[in-house]
Symmetry: C2
Subunit: 242 residues, 2 copies
């Protein structure tokens, strides 16, 4: 049985302010909830319908499908919705291996997809500028399909980070060199920019290796690639060379 207060507490977590105050975020469905539990995230409250298999044997508050629909942020709720404690704001670690840095990515779906791509390509850390969408937004968490449990997300001032690193800083820019003919190091930071404006002027100055994804459409049209698609193509090429 779901109380009004429980419903309200969950719904408040749509807002960043309330996530920060409570230190909690929402995850839904057996896949995402399961990945978080498997990776050691601590659940606070778990709401589940009778049909949830509960493979980890966690304590659940049983709710009806109708109550789950009220709690859920999804069009099609999936058996379970849980609030989890956000990981402690980690200190900004020195970049190692291959990392991503996101400079103002705004769309929650794009951010979630990029976290999923990072996971697939074995990229452990994503540095985000302060004006990048919040990774603990329910839409982002769902779009990661559980990958948020395996990738460290660190919000920081990118100019400080990139100004201090000794690693090469890659960025896709219009005046870059063909991704497929350029030397790519095994370690480095790949910067991806905002959906409309690309990489900001200050961050662009810190890009040491400019890349360009070649377009194969002939003609004078101005196509572009979605930022998540560009991230995937770039990460795939770094890993292919390895």
């Amino acid at each position: 049985m779901l109380s009004k207060n429980q419903l309200r507490q969950v719904k408040l977590l749509e807002q960043k302010k309330h996530r920060q105050q409570s230190g909690l975020f929402v995850a839904e469905g057996p896949k995402v909830v399961g990945d978080l539990l498997r990776c050691g995230f601590k659940p606070q409250t778990v709401f589940a319908t009778a049909a949830y298999e509960n493979p980890f044997g966690i304590d659940c508050i049983e709710v009806t499908p109708d109550e789950l629909r009220k709690l859920s942020f999804l069009q099609h709720p999936q058996y379970v919705l849980a609030t989890f404690c956000m990981p402690k704001t980690s200190e900004v670690t020195e970049p190692r291996g291959l990392c991503l840095a996101l400079d103002g990515v705004q769309d929650p779906g794009n951010l979630g997809t990029i976290i999923r791509i990072a996971d697939w390509f074995g990229i452990d850390t994503i540095y985000c500028s302060q004006d990048t969408a919040d990774a603990w937004n329910p839409k982002v968490v769902q779009a990661t399909m559980g990958s948020i449990a395996r990738v460290n997300i660190i919000y920081t001032k990118l100019t400080d980070l990139l100004g201090q690193t000794s690693l090469p800083v890659y960025g896709t820019l219009l005046d870059g060199e063909d991704l497929y003919s350029k030397n790519l190091a095994e370690e480095g930071i790949i910067v991806m920019g905002n959906e409309g404006n690309g990489i900001s002027a200050e961050v662009r100055q810190l890009v040491t290796e400019k890349l360009f994804i070649p377009c194969y459409r002939k003609g004078d049209t101005a196509e572009s690639l979605n930022v998540a698609i560009a991230t995937a193509i770039t990460c795939a090429e770094f890993r292919r060379r390895k």
Copy 2:
């Protein structure tokens, strides 16, 4: 000044049934509307605010920003919304060069992104199974960012198409060979499957070249890639080899 009937006619075009009856679809914003006009699509009715620059000098019905908001399918309407005539249902042409075939892609955002990827990689034709989302849905049209003007979309029975072609049929499957070590022809059909279930059993039997995008995350977790991301990585590798 916008009439009630005009508003109603536009809103009906959210439904496939009404798009098919009227032969019309909706496009919004200077970029998408501009790309369609440039490629010879015929506008039926164009609604625009006074701020629209109208670079093609087409006849517009002037509406207020408030009226445009009522007409629009977007969260942030952009100066212009137009209805266009759908291209005549083209006969199913013999596949040539590099093509895509979509087997039950359901999400309008994924379909739109895939059309945009095809455009970038110079792929002229996408064959869609009848249960793939409708490309003239306003959400798909917007997600293509204008690319729908440059890519032919043909709905057909994929088993007939793939059963008759002499081109290699590529599909990403769990038991496929590493995309990066397999021979890839310059001509062929790349099949991408449904978001949840992948390529259907009947179509899978017609795949002659099985591919697998390698995962670089170590461990026993079951990650996956979004279908649009998998399409981008596969198309990029075909074009890189060319």
